[in-house]
Symmetry: C2
Subunit: 387 residues, 2 copies
């Protein structure tokens, strides 16, 4: 089987290394034959080409691995490869979350596969786990730590007693965080992963503009200390639940018991759970990013295509609408202003104003309050208690 890779960065380099140099017995007859990259990188490797046509029009190429990231030109290149009857495997969560429907349709029409295991959970076989569980069970919900960068920051704050900015700087030095860290710390990365996981879990395309997403960048060292005093820990969580034909989803900091598994996830690891009717709760832990783990997930997709292994077509046809009154939850807010409201209790902790819901409230009720708080103090810390 002959492969081409689009992009020769960290992940593309990892795929090239695993397929052409590490060569497990299962990869003996698989080879990367072309890599698309910019002309200025031409001497990085002797199989670099600079025109997508060199790949789409090469009839010997069976599978194209897209590792460029971003929406454009990844979208156009993927569509081009699919219409040229190449299987496509990608790790690009942004383009998958935005254009999954187009890709699946084009793949079906052209009799090829479109796979994206590495887009969510990196090296964790998470999307395959959902699809496998779905053969028997309805998935009721999924939940977890989908982003390694933010987990690294929170873990540093908790175990190294550093503040947010110092932890972020360390994450950048280690290559875990981008120079512009917004996609990670403000939740867009996790939103994409929640959309992708929902598609496979619930057969539907959920709209990330509908559901609440709050940043984790306002979590302070004082918040960590306050929660420690209550034997709790805060983690950055993505989740979705389906019930009675409606769904809810959140991307936001969650307050957890210090003895929960999620609370104890170290460094930049991910931990993601699904809940199915007969299987109960399954949790999956591993490297959610990084060169070799992500490349490994891509190569697993390539091998599945080669060996004709599939859990069946992905459908996005189920009509499930977002509801902000599906379930009541409890929330925690820390801000610099005094509120006297029925729905929250005020807790003063070393001069900081914490607000805890007096009883579980609907997302609708909570969102209205949180919006007012954030208007008055954009640095407020907004979190949800784990169900």
């Amino acid at each position: 089987m002959k492969l081409a890779i689009l992009g020769f960065g960290t992940i593309g380099g990892g795929v090239y290394e695993i397929v052409n140099h590490r060569k497990s017995p299962a990869l003996m007859d698989t080879e990367v034959v072309k890599i698309l990259d910019l002309p200025r990188n031409k001497d990085k490797c002797d199989i670099i080409v600079c025109d997508i046509k060199d790949i789409t029009e090469d009839e010997t190429i069976d599978v194209v691995v897209e590792t460029m990231g971003g929406i454009h030109p990844a979208y156009e290149f993927i569509m081009d490869c699919l219409t040229h009857k190449k299987h496509v495997v990608t790790a690009n969560k942004a383009v998958v979350a935005a254009h999954m429907e187009d890709f699946l349709k084009a793949a079906k029409e052209n009799g090829v596969e479109f796979r994206f295991e590495a887009s969510t959970g990196g090296g964790i076989p998470w999307l395959a786990a959902i699809q496998k569980a779905r053969r028997i069970d309805e998935i009721q919900s999924f939940y977890g730590i989908f982003n390694g960068t933010t987990n690294y920051i929170l873990d540093s704050m908790n175990t190294q007693n550093t503040g947010f900015s110092e932890a972020l700087l360390n994450a950048q030095k280690l290559g875990y965080a981008e120079a512009n860290p917004s996609a990670d710390i403000d939740g867009f990365d996790v939103q994409n992963k929640v959309v992708i996981s929902s598609a496979l879990s619930f057969d539907t395309k959920i709209n990330m503009k509908d559901f609440p997403c709050y940043t984790m960048s306002t979590i302070s060292f004082e918040d960590i200390l306050y929660l420690k005093s209550k034997n709790q820990m805060i983690k950055y969580i993505g989740e979705a639940t389906v019930k009675d034909g409606a769904y809810e989803a959140f991307v936001m900091p969650n307050v957890l018991s210090a003895s929960s598994l999620e609370a104890n996830v170290p460094s930049n690891f991910n931990l993601i759970s699904l809940y199915g009717e007969t299987i109960g709760e399954l949790k999956f832990y591993g490297q959610g990013a990084g060169k070799l783990p992500t490349a490994n997930a891509i190569v697993e997709d390539v091998l599945d295509i080669k060996e004709g292994m599939t859990y069946g077509d992905i459908s996005l046809d189920k009509e499930i609408s977002y509801s902000d009154t599906l379930q009541d939850h409890a929330y925690l807010i820390r801000t610099n202003k005094m509120y006297l409201e029925d729905i929250v209790d005020h807790v003063d902790h070393v001069g900081a104003n914490y607000y805890v819901s007096t009883k579980p409230i609907s997302t609708k009720e909570f969102t209205a309050f949180a919006t007012r708080v954030l208007e008055e103090n954009p640095q407020a810390m907004i979190a949800k208690y784990k169900n």
Copy 2:
């Protein structure tokens, strides 16, 4: 696809329920048509038969699910079904660990599949995870909580402040532990699972008589308190490592940091990890036993057979020999006698004698010491520090 089930206990009943009554779309054309059970249970269900020939000689039956447990007559029945060209799926770890080679050979000769996902890790897709990882990586080691009964006991002792006997009694009341709990608490159950996981991880049949297995029944409430004072927790662990053509394996209590994921596994859940070259560490958590989770794993095997999904043949041909000097480890022993030895430091904690290795020592050196301790005090608590 037509199924027969051998045994109509908890697990057999779960398979019948999922396949004939819950019926996900993937199971629409799959049906349990016969169940083998004792004559006295004939009126429990209208498809019960009492002679294995009613199943082996029924040409309409494609897959036989064995859920009887134990070695005999499970071994004979499984061989009989395979030689009659029925695919066989089993949850029976004892018979798989003892006779895997015969079963795989008979399946191959008769052109059918022999599957046993549910035998190890219950509802956790653990054996499939190993096989999937193996396509790309060498597995270097696996490690974890393979037994829910013992985890329930240790979790109760830790969180409910109960002694060992009370926790065991509760586990028996809840149906987690057998009337004779020895297979769980003395490690035979985990030994079987280590043998099975090793076969898939390392392509070899390891001999459970070779490697150390220590009971967890001597862990006392005082031990839990002693370790808590050091911010540690004790869990019952199975593990194996391969290095330079040799292996080591252990089934024994492990002392872990209180903030490790394993230390925080609640109730009767399992948490099992593998370590692969490029994928790094992957951990899998879920119900390691119980009616519907175990039945779910069996039905996943049935669906894989139906859909022709396989990670390839299992080989047991690699020659890897046990070594008791492969790696050095640190150990903890609590006993009632005073020892003055170079290899251990004595720690007196509220009148109990704890011994900790002065430096990591070989398994050979440790085993010699532990054997002497156990001869003088069979109630000594023998544990290993997590690497």
